[in-house]
Symmetry: C2
Subunit: 151 residues, 2 copies
Amino acid sequence: MQTMRIEDEIKQPVFKDEYQKGLINLVYTAGWLQQQQAAAFREFDITLPQFNILRILRGQHPKPATVNLLIERMLDKTSNASRIVDKLEAKSFVTRTVCPSNRRAVDIRITDSGLELLQRMDASVDLHHGLKTLTLEEAQQLNTILDKIRD
Amino acid sequence: MQTMRIEDEIKQPVFKDEYQKGLINLVYTAGWLQQQQAAAFREFDITLPQFNILRILRGQHPKPATVNLLIERMLDKTSNASRIVDKLEAKSFVTRTVCPSNRRAVDIRITDSGLELLQRMDASVDLHHGLKTLTLEEAQQLNTILDKIRD
DNA sequence: TGCAAATATATGTACATACATTTAATGTTG
DNA sequence: CAACATTAAATGTATGTACATATATTTGCA
């Protein structure tokens, strides 16, 4: 398949300049990638934000994480970690206990069932890593440019 | 201010490779840009998807658009245009009338009030075009790489 | 013509986001 | 130590997303 330029994808042939085009292209491509990932997750009955939180908890395991720690590590800082943990708790992939040393905080831990889910997903998700069409040099250029955007 | 690498932003110092890092960086940066835009829109009491639909309608004006046309032109193809039009209609920025030549379809038109809103926003939104930290060459590289990702 | 398939939009439900507010526990300070 | 501020998490409300289904209209064709 040939490269589909962003102009064709959204049927708006004219952009004011390369910057406006880049902005729209970036948001569009990120959404496209997230949809690819969400589709891969569907068979595991889990969403992308839920998966991201599970991975953070696995990184901490066997230490617990608090909601604050999850928010710090999450890609989208403003999202509502508390309610995503609700869903994971309902599926028994995490546990919540009051933190003994600070009773305002909550210790969140991944369960064996959660660890087992991530193991099953590791094999599958790696296949869809999304940027496989790029050369290594292009991937490096991309990272440099993206970091610069957020200056 | 100095460049904040993605490793520092999300406090996960190790990525498997440049591809995994690029994927996370891309999603993170797109979300960051969208939040910047949403903040600029807040004072106008409008959301990003609502703004995007209004711009499409201005592009068609004075011809009407159907829901199908909006979906074709929208960045996120799967989103629910019908309900976003609901919100814009409630604010009197658009009108909905049954299409005379095809009574299944709905003619959606931007109102004078909607056009006036966009005019007020044009000045403000242009200031936050987001990629202004890049050189022209970097913006071009970015567009080339993003198009290639979606191959 | 009549009836099934296709089309255009709307609606239902579950989940997530964005922002403000609430509740409870802990710190601070006069 | 009591009053007030701060912190951690949860909750309320509006919006949007994702996917399935429903409703109405039009098209196609036997």
